[in-house]
């Protein structure tokens, strides 16, 4: 089995198209055309063991779809997900798939919707252990659940309670305990803190960092909040309309944003440390993903767009320690700017 050095997860040319056509009858009678929504269109990246890759972008850019594709909640239209050297699409054997599933888990955004209100916390946390048949003995199972709850900052007695007895932050801790119960190596976290208040968000982010260090976990972190992303990630990928437009080390990305969209996002975030900074006025809105503009999908909002951008779709190519999909950067007509405020 071929394994690239240190790479835990490799995604190549991943795509997911949704058919959002009107019903058959309307298509026949009204001659309405088929409509295909390209939620994710050719996304490739690698995550090394022990690192945190974040995907950021605005709503509808496809970041959550990528998370769901990796976890197998959607079948991909095209492309492959290779986990620890094994192509997940190639696994035909159910027991082999189950063994694979144990090794990665997911944490969802809404801690109110992701916990079954009729189950006690101890059953919620023990479910992955039971379904993967990791611990058969009841006493050992209860002990393990107690340990997991302690790990995430709750007490073993909390296992007796139901989810409604907990606050949002505590529920997210329960979700994390559940995700950790099968001893996974890889966690996909889809906006794990965006439903939480800032002080609770800080608790959860600290907890996630501590657990990563203790258990050697690898994270794929999905978020729209650039400040959270800059805090938690090793590398960051910026998505726009189903594609990665730029991917780089966190420091490189924030100190020297290349793609005009990355620059726009960075100047758009209100930040308590940078109030009063000069803002790049943000023009326009994300176009309708059903009818993306030709060429580079960002061209209608881009201040640097030229004719080439309206015709030819740019590929994600390496550029001085980062990868960026922009004609202007690769052909050299967009000046590269290093954030003075951040290098100081």
């Amino acid at each position: 089995m071929h394994k690239a050095e240190g790479v835990l997860l490799a995604v190549s040319d991943l795509a997911k198209f949704f058919d959002v056509s009107p019903p058959w009858l309307n298509r026949v009678i009204e001659h309405a055309p088929r409509q295909i929504l390209k939620a994710v269109d050719g996304v490739s990246f690698e995550i090394k063991r022990g690192e945190t890759l974040s995907l950021v972008g605005e709503s509808g850019c496809g970041k959550s779809t990528v998370a769901r594709l990796i976890c197998g909640l959607y079948p991909p239209t095209r492309g492959s997900v290779v986990f620890d050297g094994v192509d997940l699409a190639g696994i035909r054997d159910r027991t082999e798939m189950l063994a694979m599933r144990r090794r990665f888990q997911m944490i969802f955004q809404d801690p109110y919707a992701s916990l079954n209100p009729r189950w006690r916390v101890q059953d919620i946390v023990a479910e992955p252990i039971r379904s993967h048949k990791l611990i058969a003995d009841g006493g050992a199972l209860a002990k393990r659940v107690g340990e997991l709850l302690t790990d995430v900052g709750l007490s073993p007695q909390d296992g007796e309670k139901y989810p409604h007895e907990f606050s949002g932050g505590q529920r997210q801790r329960i979700s994390i305990a559940r995700a950790l119960s099968s001893n996974p190596e890889f966690l996909v976290c889809d906006e794990p803190t965006s439903a939480l208040d800032v002080s609770v968000q800080a608790q959860i982010l600290n907890l996630m960092k501590d657990l990563q260090r203790e258990h050697g976990l690898t994270y794929l972190f999905i978020s729209h909040n650039l400040a959270v992303v800059s805090h938690i990630s090793t590398r960051v990928g910026v998505m726009y309309l189903g594609r990665i437009v730029e991917i780089a080390d966190t420091k490189t990305l924030f100190n020297r944003p290349l793609h005009p969209y990355t620059r726009m996002l960075e100047s758009a975030i209100p930040d308590i440390l940078m109030s009063g900074k000069a803002r790049t006025p943000v023009a326009g809105e994300v176009p309708n993903p059903l009818k993306p503009p030709p060429g580079c999908t960002f061209n209608p909002r881009c201040p640097h767009a030229k004719e080439k951008c309206r015709v030819e779709s740019p590929a994600l190519l390496p550029f001085e320690g980062a990868s960026v999909a922009c004609h202007g950067i690769h052909d050299g007509w967009i000046p590269i700017r290093v954030e003075a405020a951040l290098t100081a």
Partner: protein, 338 residues
């Protein structure tokens, strides 16, 4: 300059089967004409209830149980419904979080804006339509003369929020209460709306009470900020002071817990525990069980807003004679105690 809005010792209670919950307890603040006051706090701190009390839209069982609200020196919290209706929209505009629920999906936006204008201002239908088109142009909607006849579903989220802002501005109110106006929007759109709110406030001399949980939005927009915790204001002062030099331990913890781009920290500072539920607010200072600097007095006696160097903080650390139980802050205005 006399304040535009004065809130004095406001107390809001909810009568429930399990007893009375005090959602807002002894909250006082002013807003000057043209000023942007930010109100921040975590969910359940009472920010939105403060806003709805001011515009008189508090739903039962919630009721104003004490204190008074004055707009331009005139008391508005005890007005009969019909009179309050004339103030709402005319003198005080409101912008809520979700632009879709603020607009009627069955009417064109033009009809909704014209109706609002004609309710409050003596304008003919054609003059009202002209004003509606002007307003839409002013809030940044392209081709307003065409867009005015469109329905809310034909607009994107950011554009709808612009329409709601136009609606709030219809009668040129002197105060706008904006309750989480950008929370439902993407960051790039959020920046556009913040810039718009700031510009309109400046151009029209409208005061804005900006309620949000996002400290970044406040830092960019507000002149002063009030930090709320468990139904009380814990600190109020100029925005840069509160952010960079917070005086209340809760504000310090809150600021430390906000991650920021370009700041490399291994861990964020965190406040242990969570905000108490309304039925279990501890005696004394409500923050005392979580406070890293708690001392005896905090557990017995409730602090009022005390002056610090540049802000006011409800914390005994700033008492003139620290830890002397009977020290009277002197200027406290007949606090309503639970």
């Amino acid at each position: 300059m006399s304040p535009l809005l004065e809130v004095r010792n406001l107390r809001v209670e909810f009568n429930t089967r399990r007893g009375t919950l005090v959602a807002i307890d002894d909250v006082s603040f002013d807003i000057a004409p043209g000023e942007v006051l930010g109100v921040v706090g975590e969910s359940g701190a009472g920010k939105s209830i403060t806003g709805t009390s001011i515009i008189g839209l508090l739903d039962p069982p919630g009721r104003i149980a004490g204190g008074e609200i004055l707009l331009e020196g005139r008391r508005i919290d005890n007005l009969p419904g019909e009179e309050m209706r004339k103030i709402r929209g005319r003198r005080i505009g409101a912008i809520f979080q979700d632009p879709l629920t603020s607009l009627n999906p069955l009417y064109t936006i033009g009809r909704q804006i014209i109706e609002t204008i004609q309710t409050h201002l003596p304008l003919s239908a054609s003059a009202a339509r002209k004003r509606a088109i002007e307003l839409l142009g002013e809030v940044g909607i392209a081709a307003p003369e065409r867009r005015i006849d469109h329905f809310p579903h034909q607009f994107s989220g950011g554009m709808r929020q612009r329409v709601v802002i136009a609606l709030a501005l219809c009668a040129n109110p002197s105060l706008i209460i904006a309750d989480e106006p950008t929370t439902a929007l993407d960051v790039s759109i959020q920046a556009q709306i913040i810039t718009l709110l700031k510009r309109l406030g400046r151009d029209h001399g409208t005061a804005v009470m900006l309620i949000t949980h996002d400290m970044g939005v406040i830092a960019e927009t507000a002149d002063r900020v009030a930090v709320m915790y468990a139904g009380r204001i814990v600190e109020i002062g100029p925005v840069q002071e509160v952010i960079h030099n917070p005086q209340h331990p809760y504000t310090t913890g809150l600021m430390g817990s906000i991650p920021s781009v370009g700041q490399e920290l291994e861990r964020l500072s965190q406040i242990e525990g969570s905000m108490p539920r309304l039925n279990a607010i501890p005696p004394g200072c409500p923050f005392n069980p979580r406070c890293p600097r708690v001392f005896d007095r905090c557990k017995v006696e409730r602090p009022d807003l005390l002056p610090t160097a540049k802000t006011f903080a409800a914390c005994w650390l700033h008492a003139p004679e620290r830890a002397s139980p009977k020290a009277d802050p002197g200027w406290s205005e007949g606090a309503v105690h639970a």
